[in-house]
């Protein structure tokens, strides 16, 4: 039985402000589910509705085997880690950790025992007598997690817990979170705007935009088979190149790139090619001309920015749907990721090829994937 | 401390206590809180509303029992009678002069001193500041008698000057403005110094214009305090022509304490300026009050 289920959940704040639009989602017991999308996409609102801090305008939310729409947050057996940690500033770490247990009238000795366990598990044992104001960001984050864990809840909710940490700490905490989940196996719903976190942490990810679910699946599946233009441009870094083109007679053309598209009817399309799918062209491979503008060596790969002879459709990360970025006549920008040995010179024109299986086609009117 | 002020330059003061409460899970069409708040609001307003009602009644209506809640006829004559019974116009002017003078004095002298304490390094600065601050610890009643004697020795008993002088500058204003000045970016003043502006020029052309919220707060606090001041005027003023409004009201009470309708009319008239000012500038008043809690 699914641990958490959202069925047709909608949240409307005002006549024209729909935060979550008909969201349906099932989270299996013990699963690590990630809700990912850019700001304002509704992921935090969805999380808060699961928590019970917001009430759905319509639809049902089920935790375990009961519908919890009318159940208040305190009775839902869920724990939440807030983005800003929400630690009680006037209490020591020990009292912060013990708070949820004391609220449920757990015996003092049990509270102390459990607090030590959790502190041990998260490396907080030396900090128990300190106050949140005396802790670093990373320590505070762990206390927030500890407070959520101390109750052994049925569901664990996290609202962008790593966004306030510096880059190095973020990488460490990501691994720590994954280990923790492996060890405890609690159903977890995790909200983030960072697609790297989504890809690395989740059992499954739910991509949201504008309150609507764009795609749901395992990270690798979503990466390999994006369902629409938005997901294609959102997942993967650097983002997928989306070139405007058309399909005619079973062949997709975008600028000078020609790719076979068997069984696809004639229409306008967007041709999607990931930067890492582009490599120096060999015979027989569909290829396009690439004028190199900027080369960024990263050590293990080289990011090449340049122009291709096609209208490029850029997916703006700020907007929720695929939007047209003005193309400069018939030339537009594109990005390729090449191995260091294939590093081109700036200003040169090279020919890059792509395997037909790695080309994604999207219908220009609906944005939906045609194949790929 | 208890309130977190915003950070930008002009907004150094606490959020107004009229920011909306928790983003909720949906507002009820009729909240149960109304049942709690309405009676409380009634209790707070009834005395004032009653004052209004009685002020419009005739002597007979006013002293009837059970009291009439709605006057059967409106007697505006009470107001003119009260106005004439004691020189109300004179009282208004005296109060206005007293308040305006103390506000002006405080704004000027406290600004000068606060600026020096905030930005100028001079010999004995720290000690002097502590000494001035210490005067705030002493309640007025303690120095009431000597202050009276000092004003008497200056020959200013029963004069507006004698009323005003002890209140021309208060350490409270110095403290408040110093705190505020210190939060202004010093680069602006340094740039002006390099351009050759005198310290006085910097104060008046740069610092004060940026300090309007603080000055307004100080001005309001001082104005309210002076307008409603009673004990000091009671001691220092002896003739009716120099009475402030509050003193005058007390006189009216003494002379006409059986004519409640008249008395209420007089009382209402005396409160109108403050009430009007409050209703028009609520945000500023509330801010000023909230601010005193910050120190």
């Amino acid at each position: 039985m699914p641990s958490v289920m959202l069925d047709g959940v909608t949240k409307r704040f005002a006549a024209d402000a729909v935060a979550v639009d008909d969201l349906s989602l099932e989270i299996a017991d013990g699963e690590f589910m990630i809700l990912v999308g850019s700001s304002g996409c509704g992921k935090t609102t969805a999380l808060r509705m699961i928590a019970g801090l917001e009430k759905p305008t319509s639809g049902t939310i089920q935790i375990g085997d009961r519908i919890v729409n009318e159940v208040s947050a305190r009775d839902r057996d869920i724990a939440m880690v807030f983005q800003n940690y929400a630690l009680y500033p006037h209490m020591t770490v020990a009292r912060n950790l013990g708070y949820p247990l004391r609220q449920r009238r757990v015996a003092r000795s049990d509270v102390n025992r459990r607090v030590s366990e959790v502190a041990e598990m998260l490396g907080l044992a030396e900090l128990l007598k300190r106050r949140p104001g005396q802790l670093s960001g990373g320590q505070r984050q762990r206390v927030a997690m500890g407070r959520a864990l101390v109750r052994e809840p049925e569901v664990f909710l996290l609202d962008e817990p790593l966004s306030n940490l510096d880059a190095k700490l973020r990488v460490e905490m990501r691994a720590a979170l994954k280990r923790l989940h492996g060890r405890l196996g609690v159903t977890t719903v995790y909200v983030t705007h960072d697609q790297v976190e989504a890809m690395t942490l989740g059992d499954r990810i739910a991509v949201l935009s504008d309150g609507k679910l764009q795609q749901l699946g395992a990270p690798q599946d979503v990466y390999d088979h994006p369902a629409n233009v938005f997901v294609a441009g959102f997942i993967g870094s650097p983002p997928m190149n989306l070139l405007r083109g058309r399909v005619r007679d079973g062949s997709a053309t975008a600028g000078d790139l020609v790719v076979p598209a068997p069984g696809v009817s004639d229409r306008d399309v967007f041709v999607g090619v990931r930067p890492e799918s582009l490599r120096p062209a060999t015979n027989g491979m569909p290829s396009l001309g690439f004028e190199v503008a900027v080369v960024e060596p990263l050590g293990d790969e080289v990011i090449v920015h340049g122009f291709v002879g096609a209208e490029l459709l850029g997916v703006s990360q700020e907007r929720d749907d695929a939007a047209l970025v003005a193309a400069d006549g018939h030339r537009a920008e594109a990005v390729a990721c090449l191995p260091p040995r294939d590093r081109p010179a700036e200003g040169s024109v090279i020919r890059l090829g792509v395997e037909p299986e790695e080309v994604h086609l999207f219908d220009a009117d609906t944005g939906l994937a045609i194949r790929g | 401390m208890s309130v977190q002020p915003a950070v930008s330059v002009p907004e150094r003061f606490p959020r107004l206590p009229d920011a909306p409460a928790p983003r909720g899970r949906g507002r009820l069409p009729f909240s149960g809180w109304h049942l709690v708040l309405a009676p409380v609001a009634a209790i707070m307003l009834v005395p004032l509303v009653w004052m209004l009602i009685v002020s419009l009644e005739s002597q007979q209506q006013a002293t009837s029992f059970p009291p009439q809640l709605i006057p059967s006829s409106v007697h505006l004559g009470n107001y003119s009678a009260a106005w004439n019974a004691v020189p109300f116009g004179r009282f208004f002017i005296n109060s206005l002069l007293y308040s305006a003078a103390t506000v002006a004095g405080n704004l000027l002298f406290c600004s000068l001193a606060a600026y020096a304490f905030a930005r100028i390094r001079f010999f004995g600065r720290e000690v002097l500041f502590v000494v001035l601050l210490a005067t705030l610890m002493v309640p007025f009643q303690v120095i009431l008698i000597p202050t009276f004697l000092i004003v008497k020795n200056l020959g200013l008993v029963d004069t507006l000057g004698g009323l005003i002088m002890p209140n021309l500058c208060s350490a409270f204003g110095i403290f408040m403005l110093r705190q505020f000045f210190r939060t202004l970016p010093i680069e602006l003043e340094e740039a002006a110094r390099i351009d050759g502006t005198s310290r006085l020029g910097i104060l008046f052309k740069i610092v004060l214009p940026l300090s309007l919220p603080a000055l307004a707060t100080l001005g309001i606090i001082q104005f309210m305090w002076s307008w409603n001041d009673f004990l000091w005027p009671l001691i220092i003023i002896q003739s009716q022509t120099h009475d402030t409004l509050q003193l005058g009201l007390s006189q009216l009470q003494g002379a006409h304490f059986t004519q409640w309708n008249l008395l209420m009319a007089g009382t209402l008239m005396s409160q109108i300026p403050m009430l009007a000012a409050f209703l028009l500038a609520q945000r500023w008043f509330i801010r000023s009050v909230a601010f005193t809690g910050i120190k």
Binding site: Q83, A86, Y88, Y99, Q103, G133, R151 | M1, S2, V3, Q4, R15, P17, D18, A19, A21, P22, W33, V36, L37, I43, M44, V46, P47, W50, T63, F65, P66, P67, C110, L112, A116, F117, I120, R121, F123, R125, L132, P139, Q141, I143, L144, I145, P146, C169, S170, L249, Q253, W260, L263, M264, T267, S270, M274, L275, F278, F285, I286, A290, G293
Partner: protein
């Protein structure tokens, strides 16, 4: 022009000492603070010292004073009227402060929500703050009038007999408490409201998620975080309560039968009605000491129990 005037390198002469002093910060600083210093010295600092001096003297405020050492203080210890004044003041304070603090807290919680008309309710609570003490006294004299007062009328409706209120030695002080609470509650409410709104909302949500009931959240999270505000209001209210005067003067003049004579009123009587200047000064010094001790005690307790979040 002498032979000295034109030299290829101008000799740098240090400005005279006088010039340096004038241009220096020290002078500027003192120049700026002088008006304030003079005013405060004359009207605050000197009076403080003089008050102490006066308490050791006997004067009728007109003729020159002469020294009597600690005679005033000794007289105070034996003065039954002074002891009553202290008693009245203490009773008043012990009623005024808790009622104000508790009432203001409850009101602030009630007013901290987003329902229709909340602005009106808040305004209603704040308005009495703006009325002067004299006006308040007059209004309440009439409200509590034994014969014609509105309050007696309302009591009558529920079957309670007419009360003498301010004319009853046993009730007058309590009426003063009610009157001053009405008058000053808004001040405390403003402070509490501001403090309540300073509590980050996610702390309250976290508490809810942690399983706390509304009341438990209030007790464990909100109340402690209101500590600084509470301390301020307690100290401020206490100081004001100990200094009560205006309302007494306007309503009861210390009566009936001296039942509302508080310390400052007694001071006023002694100094300005009976012209015992020295005695009044001694009373003032005792009051000062009392306020100082009480305030320090409260701050000391507060220091140990109140947590500041920044």
């Amino acid at each position: 022009m002498s032979a000295h005037s034109a030299t290829p390198l101008a000799v740098h002469r240090r400005p005279s000492l006088l010039k340096r002093v004038i241009a220096s910060d020290h002078l500027a600083g003192w120049a700026f603070v002088t008006p304030a210093v003079i005013l405060i010295a004359v009207f605050a600092i000197i009076p403080i010292g003089w008050s102490a001096l006066l308490s050791l003297q006997s004067t009728n405020l007109i003729a020159p004073a002469h020294y009597v050492g600690l005679a005033n203080y000794r007289a105070l210890t034996k003065d039954p009227a002074f002891r009553s004044a202290i008693g009245h003041t203490v009773v008043y304070t012990l009623l005024f402060v808790p009622i104000s603090v508790g009432g203001a807290l409850a009101l602030a919680v009630a007013l901290n929500r987003k329902i229709r008309g909340i602005r009106f309710y808040r305004l209603a609570v704040f308005i009495p703050l703006v009325t002067s003490t004299v006006a308040t006294g007059i209004i309440f004299l009439w409200l509590l009038d034994p014969t014609f007062g509105l309050v007696n009328y309302v009591l009558n409706l529920v079957g309670i007999p007419q009360q003498q209120f301010l004319q009853d030695p046993n009730q007058a002080l309590y009426c003063i408490v009610a009157m001053t609470v009405w008058s000053w509650l808004g001040f405390d409410v403003i402070i509490y409201l501001a403090a309540l709104q300073g509590i980050p909302e996610d702390l309250l949500e976290a508490s809810e998620m942690d399983g706390a009931s509304r009341w438990s959240t209030f007790r464990s999270i909100v109340l402690p975080l209101l500590g600084p505000a509470t301390l301020f209001i307690v100290v401020w209210s206490t100081i004001n309560a100990l200094q009560l005067f205006d309302e007494i003067y306007v309503t009861t003049r210390g009566g009936p039968l001296g039942s509302t004579t508080v310390i400052v009123y007694y001071l006023y009587q002694q100094a300005f009605q009976f012209f015992n200047g020295g005695y009044g000064a001694a009373i003032a010094m005792v009051l000062f000491l009392a306020i100082l001790i009480v305030t320090l005690l409260q701050l000391w307790v507060g220091r140990r129990r109140v947590y500041y979040t920044s």
